[in-house]
């Protein structure tokens, strides 16, 4: 199934049935590289309660390099050996800004209040009763899905809270 909203720009004018047809003869690859920390990339809330997301791509060299590496490998494994015409072609796209599933950072943890919002137990440096246990504490996102790390950290912080309130 061709995913609306996940279509490469090249296919913008193609009718949906044709994308479905292409999808049946296509192999999908998902390449992930890390968005490195950038102070300007942040989430804020305005007075009307609307969420503002400032985002600029980072680490483009790694993303471009990985994409070219994939193409290089695919061109050498004989995917179109038995065809007279070269039938390999590539359509790529980046996840749009609306793809907000893996946001992290902004309240990163650390030992130094000058460079972090939370201490190593994910407690706010300046408040005694505020802890943050979502992906905000990540100093960096890494290049993998963060949910299991967030859950593991929530357990770690929870055990700290239990020992603190015992």
């Amino acid at each position: 199934m061709a995913m609306k909203g996940e279509e490469p720009k090249l296919t913008k004018l193609a009718p949906h049935w044709s994308l479905d047809e292409v999808a049946h003869h296509a192999v999908d690859f998902w390449l992930t590289t890390e968005d490195v920390p950038r102070p300007g990339n942040r989430v804020t809330v305005d007075r009307d309660g609307r969420v503002h997301l400032a985002y600029a791509a980072t680490n483009d060299a790694a993303a471009t390099g990985l994409y070219h590496e994939l193409r290089k490998i695919l061109n050498h494994i004989g995917m179109a050996d038995h065809h007279i015409l070269d039938k390999n072609f590539y359509m790529s796209m980046d996840v749009p800004v609306a793809g907000v599933a893996h946001q992290a950072g902004t309240y990163r943890f650390g030992a130094d209040p000058a460079t972090s919002v939370l201490d190593v137990n994910c407690k706010a440096h300046e408040l005694d009763n505020l802890y943050v246990v979502d992906t905000s504490f990540f100093p960096r996102i890494g290049a993998v899905n963060p949910a299991l790390t967030a859950m593991a950290n929530a357990i770690r912080v929870g055990e700290h809270l239990l020992s603190r309130t015992a």
């Binding site: 408040l127 009763n129 505020l130 979502d134 949910a147 929530a154 809270l161």
Partner: protein, 126 residues
């Protein structure tokens, strides 16, 4: 949480609604009271804001401790239905996306591919 009993939470030393340090998945510990229509009616040891991957996991861990815990969640429960398992309704139709426009750096509104619902992070995203 009983939907008829919405109130604002007062915490020491900072009132967290609207405070720069407030956060959808923040955890207020040793919070003093819940104020409903101006009257203090409930006391909690822990208030957890958001039932996602972090808040939901923490609530699960703290629940057996006997502490009084309030878990706040903006969204409703996801319906139990076959569409949950189907990429068409989930990704093409955006069936579970919360209609909640965000604003990008240029001031342009966009629909974030995000969901507000109980345990959304754990049930939908990995």
């Amino acid at each position: 949480v009983d939907s008829n009993r919405y109130g604002t939470a007062e915490a020491t030393p900072t009132n967290f609604p609207g405070h720069p340090l407030s956060h959808p998945a923040g955890v207020m510990c040793r919070v003093t009271s819940i104020v409903i229509f101006g009257h203090v009616t409930e006391h909690f040891d822990v208030i957890i804001v958001g039932s996602g991957a972090g808040g939901g996991t923490l609530a699960h861990l703290l629940a057996p401790s006997g502490q009084r815990i309030l878990l706040l969640e903006r969204g409703n429960f996801l319906p139990r239905e076959t569409e949950n398992w189907n990429p068409g309704p989930v990704f093409v139709d955006g069936r579970y996306i919360s209609p909640d426009p965000w604003v990008d750096a240029d001031g342009k509104a966009f629909q974030a591919q995000a969901t507000s619902s109980c345990s959304a992070s754990q049930t939908r995203w990995r």
